[in-house]
Amino acid sequence: MDREVRMIGRLALFLWIAGWMVAAFVWAPLVPVLGETTRVLYFHIPAAWVTVLALAWSMGHSVLYLRRRRIEHDHHAAAAAEIGILFCVAATISGSLWAKAMWGSYWNWDPRETSIFFLLLVYAAYLALRSAIEQEERRARLSAIYSALAFVTVPFLMFVVPRIYFTLHPDPIINPRGKLDMDPRIRIVFFAMLAGFTGLYFWLQTLRVRVARLEHRLDES
């Protein structure tokens, strides 16, 4: 029964993302300046969103681990970091391709590029730290400390970098006034993809945590 529910869930997620991807090509209009590159929107931004979501998830579970000392929280933190790196790379590459098409170069140290690169560094450092500690409790505790401290930098980078450098990056979709100035069809496909990516993330997250739990049990016996 449980297996069937999971199976149906996975299938629905696949169909959802695939369906909206088709809609992005045949139904949603293109934005004048962006032209054909409009469609990167449906992939790039959800990937970037999941990157940030995974980072926050990892930090949250790190703090929970320090409070409760349940190894489960460490599994969550590590899984989120691994998946976060995956999506961070996806967002970076898609952004870089888009930058080549629009700005003429793959990499330009635009503030947005800088901040996503920074997130990549945080994740990579976190995983490097983990790999350097053998003992399970110690690894969980020390990487949680790192993760909690690293989170301090996030608001600062979001605040420091944009105010110091001029950005060419299009406005974030929800601009400061909280107004959405996009075509309703683009908006629908975009938010549907956002939901799809979020679902994809949580599915991967549960998979990774289950693997970690099994590995842990194998280690114990």
Partner: protein, 224 residues
């Protein structure tokens, strides 16, 4: 609640003095760090020459040199305790917070000494125009505070891993990027004659945030 002689202020002060005395007797960490800073400085100076009219480059390179020197030396405070097997003693006589703060103050003193040698040399070798000293020193001080706060906690974490020193630079860099960004931009404004208040506030706030987070996290540092 009974208490038996636990006074954080005294412990922090005792640790700071012990660190200074140990360092002064061996001079191992300080000489290595100074050598490193001066080597970096000379290679930068040799590679780019005098930059009298490029104050933007001067600002960036100054912080790169200082960041290198800090990354090469600040993990030392804890690694030395682990390698000398003296951490047990330290943990028995002081609370983790007192140890963290004592080491933080020592790292700060250490940075100031390195800067006192490196910065004048840098200004001379690079042919920098005279800085506005008030703004210059304020930025230097706040930037060093941020560097020391991040490096102390990460140093304590790193000292418990297999690689120890080797990982330190890579793991602390993400935490030091905001310091680098704000400090470089402030330094640039300082030479260009612009206001530095915004950057100084940012550096101060960042250091304060790191310090606050550290104070919450020190307690979890040692449990085995």
């Amino acid at each position: 609640m009974p208490s038996n002689g636990s006074n954080s202020g005294a412990a922090v002060w005792a640790i700071l003095r012990k660190e200074c005395r140990s360092e002064w007797r061996t001079r191992y960490g300080l000489s290595a760090a100074l050598l490193f800073a001066i080597t970096t400085l000379t290679s930068v100076s040799f590679a780019v020459g005098r930059l009298t009219d490029r104050t933007d480059m001067l600002a960036a390179l100054l912080w790169v040199v200082l960041l290198f020197a800090a990354l090469a030396s600040l993990s030392h405070a804890f690694v030395r305790e682990v390698e000398g097997h003296t951490l047990t003693l330290l943990r028995l006589v002081a609370s983790p917070t007192a140890i963290g703060l004592g080491k933080l103050l020592f790292n700060l003193v250490f940075l100031v000494v390195i800067e006192a040698v490196t910065v004048p040399l840098y200004l001379m070798l690079m042919g920098a125009p005279p800085p506005r000293w008030g703004a210059f020193l304020a930025l230097l001080g706040l930037g060093s505070l941020g560097l020391a706060c991040a490096a102390t906690l990460i140093g304590a974490v790193i000292s418990q891993t297999r690689g120890r020193g080797a990982l330190f630079a890579g793991v602390s860099l993400p935490l030091l990027l905001p310091v680098l960004a704000a400090a470089v931009s402030g330094m640039r404004a300082q030479w260009a004659g612009g206001p530095i208040a915004a950057e100084a506030r940012l550096l101060g706030a960042y250091a304060a945030a790191l310090l606050a987070a550290s104070l919450l996290l020190y307690d979890h540092l040692w449990e085995d």
